[in-house]
């Protein structure tokens, strides 16, 4: 719609209309685009004005020479041209609003509510944003039973992985008759790709302390420990400052807030063993012993730290508690699914455009997390799967991306919530290689107490490694499944019981990829180096030397303008030549002269 009011006509809107008509014909869009002259729009000082419908995009102060660009960009390619747009005088700011950015828009911040907003080293700022309000309420107005009832009613479940109802755990510990009871905050975050606990410890340490004081009142504990892994020095430093400041203000220690309640917290630094995240192993580590798990029952809620009843909750769980007490169980339970309430933080990593921490209501679909919040896969590659829940979790293939993430549906799909690490994979990821990676991690981290886990993870790794080397045999998949079940059934702790998940879930959803490796000696994703071979296509090679320069092992022979040859004995299959080869300058028409060829044996 071209404005043909007097004002716009006087500054040349008819010329704009002519140019527009000409350009639309040139681009062959005359059947799709209707050009009409309208009456005055009332923005005469901004003329000539153009309104594009149905989007309602408003262009202003156009010149005839702007039209070809505008038509091509907006009408042909569908990209509105910002520089010609009208910006209402009140908002001269073309910066998007936080609430309009997809990454932030779909998140619901409860635990991360203070992210980027407060200085974690100043307790006053935490207090300024309602900090310690919940604790004051719990200490002054609530009985331990009421606190537990509130937490139970909220439906909060442990955020560390297994999803045990927090209220139930507290209740069990509350019932124990013992002289001392303890609280532990589990900050031994070890899943590759997960960093939500670190971020909470660093960004909002007071929230964890507040949650622990509330928990202490509920179960009757006088002492708590925050277990932080050695790899998180900044987290440790900030928690240390937080504890000191809370003590100074009388928010920790004797007679908290003058209510007569005593509770104090101490930091314990872990040595960085993955298994120490398991609660009984963590207790051993806090006690100063080697971090290995023991048989349960008795559960830590009955016999925990130094044989006393102990509640262990994860960092994210503790940081959720004050929000529930402050806003009420009903509010919290209003978010999420039937069995999983509230929000969950995921660390979004891997082949994804927006990496970072996202907090979404339980039940959000993988599709929404990956595509709406995560912004999809870089370079428009194909979304293949997500690995969720770290080494204990499993992969969820693209075909299940409508799956809502909550504890039950993830477990049903063969993965688990875990701590919420979400690794996105594209079609260049080999699932056999992925299984190998996690098995390698687990065989390293297995404490070795149960034979089934120690030997099971080692053997499974050996078999999968053999498969990726092109030495897979008939029966390997069946053997893997058998080992996986043995490892699951016969191991004592969560590590061994879930160690087979990466293998079982990749076998379940990507069996064809295993078969291709074993029977056809082929790696469809082009990852397993023994199964691929780089080869120059003579008909496409221009002899530009780019690949030769990029080769770290001098495996490419060739002269300028002569077809290059890759010496297979020197080639280490790093792929640098494939990266370097791009003689077609236009990205979309990129056409490499180097291909990955399957090894034929």
């Amino acid at each position: 719609m071209v404005c043909a009011g007097t004002g716009c006509v006087s500054c040349g809107s008819f010329k704009i209309k002519e140019a527009l008509e000409k350009e639309v014909r040139k681009q062959n869009l005359q059947d799709e685009v209707l050009i009409i002259a309208t009456g005055c729009n009332g923005f005469c000082e901004r003329g000539p004005i153009l309104l594009v419908q149905p989007e309602g995009v408003f262009y202003q102060q156009l010149k005839v020479e702007d039209i070809p660009f505008l038509v091509e960009e907006h009408l042909l390619k569908g990209r509105p041209v910002k520089k010609f747009m009208y910006i209402p005088p009140k908002e001269k700011n073309p910066i998007p609003k936080m609430k309009d950015i997809e990454f932030f828009k779909h998140q619901r911040l409860i635990v991360l509510r203070n992210r980027g907003r407060i200085d974690p080293e100043k307790i006053e700022e935490y207090i300024g944003f309602d900090g310690y309000e919940a604790m004051a309420k719990a200490l002054a107005e609530m009985t331990p039973e009421q606190i537990i009832a509130e937490i139970s009613a909220s439906g909060l479940r442990g955020r560390g992985g297994a999803g045990f109802p927090t209220g139930k755990k507290w209740e069990a510990c509350r019932k124990e008759k013992a002289t001392s009871k303890y609280l532990i905050c589990n900050g031994d975050e070890g899943d590759p790709g997960a960093f939500m606990d670190r971020s909470i410890l660093e960004a909002d340490p007071q929230a964890i302390l507040e949650g622990m004081v509330i928990g202490a009142k509920a179960i009757g504990a006088e002492k708590g420990f925050i277990y932080i892994r050695n790899e998180y020095p900044l987290a440790r430093q900030r928690v240390d400052i937080a504890i000191r400041q809370a003590r100074e203000y009388g928010l920790l220690g004797k007679n908290i807030l003058g209510t007569g309640f005593d509770f104090d917290v101490e930091i314990v630094q872990g040595a960085g063993a993955f298994v120490s995240g398991e609660e009984t192993a963590l207790i051993a580590s806090v006690e100063g012993r080697i971090g290995t798990p023991r048989q349960r029952p008795p559960y830590p809620a009955q016999k925990g730290l130094w044989g006393k009843p102990t509640v262990i909750n994860n960092v994210e769980t503790w940081a959720t508690v004050p929000n529930i007490i402050r806003r009420g169980a009903h509010w919290f339970a209003g978010l999420g699914t039937k069995t999983s309430k509230g929000t969950k933080i995921f660390s979004l990593v891997g082949k994804i455009n927006n990496t970072g921490l996202v907090e979404v209501p339980m039940g959000t679909t993988i599709q929404d997390i990956v595509f709406r919040i995560g912004g999809g896969i870089p370079q428009n590659r194909k979304f293949k799967a997500v690995q969720i829940g770290g080494p204990s979790g499993g992969c969820i293939p693209a075909k299940l991306m409508d799956l809502p993430v909550d504890y039950e549906s993830l477990t049903e799909a063969g993965a688990m919530m875990g701590s919420g690490g979400l690794i996105v994979m594209d079609d260049k990821t080999c699932m056999v290689d992925l299984a190998k990676y996690f098995l390698n991690f687990l065989r390293d981290e297995s404490c070795g107490k149960c034979v089934s886990c120690r030997e099971g993870t080692q053997r499974m790794w050996e078999i999968v490694k053999r498969i990726t080397e092109g030495k897979g045999r008939k029966g390997d998949m069946e053997l893997l499944e058998e080992l996986a079940i043995a490892c699951k059934d016969a191991s004592m702790c969560g590590l061994g019981q879930t160690a087979a998940n990466p293998v079982l879930s990749t076998l379940r959803y990507f069996r064809k990829e295993f078969e291709a490796h074993i029977f056809e000696k082929r790696c469809p994703a082009g990852v397993c180096v023994n199964l691929i071979r780089y080869h120059v296509l003579p008909e496409k090679c221009t002899g530009c030397l780019a690949c030769k320069r990029g080769c770290p092992t001098d495996a490419i022979r060739g002269v300028l303008k002569g077809v290059h040859i890759i010496d297979q004995t020197k080639c280490i299959k790093c792929g640098a030549c494939l990266e370097a080869c791009r003689f077609e300058a236009v990205e979309t028409q990129r056409d490499e002269a180097i291909v990955i060829v399957e090894e034929t044996r």
Partner: protein, 130 residues
Amino acid sequence: MAEKKKLRIQDLVKMREKARSLSTIRESQGRAKVTVHMGTCGIAAGAREIMDALLDEMKQKKAKDVVVTTSGCAGLCNREPMATVELKDQPPVKYFDLTPEKMRKIFVKHVLGGQPATEYALAVGSETLY
């Protein structure tokens, strides 16, 4: 160090009100507040250099009425280092993919000049809380 007064419940409420007014800078003296996001991810991406550049620029320009503070990860780790500039009575503006040079330019243009450096800005406003 002198022993701080142990808080009672009624003190907590007072302190909250005081802290709230300080953190919104409307009541305090500063012309602007600049927050550099310094979680491990931000620091790994170079947030310390951003902070150094900011402090240096403040010293050079003798800007004493600017409050500089740090905060944790803002969530979008692949666009770190990030910083937030908040002028008195104006919505905060988040800047991303910062370099020391960009930070200096933002300081001159936005903090001193009052005009958001749109070319480096990610977003204006703050996240919605549930």
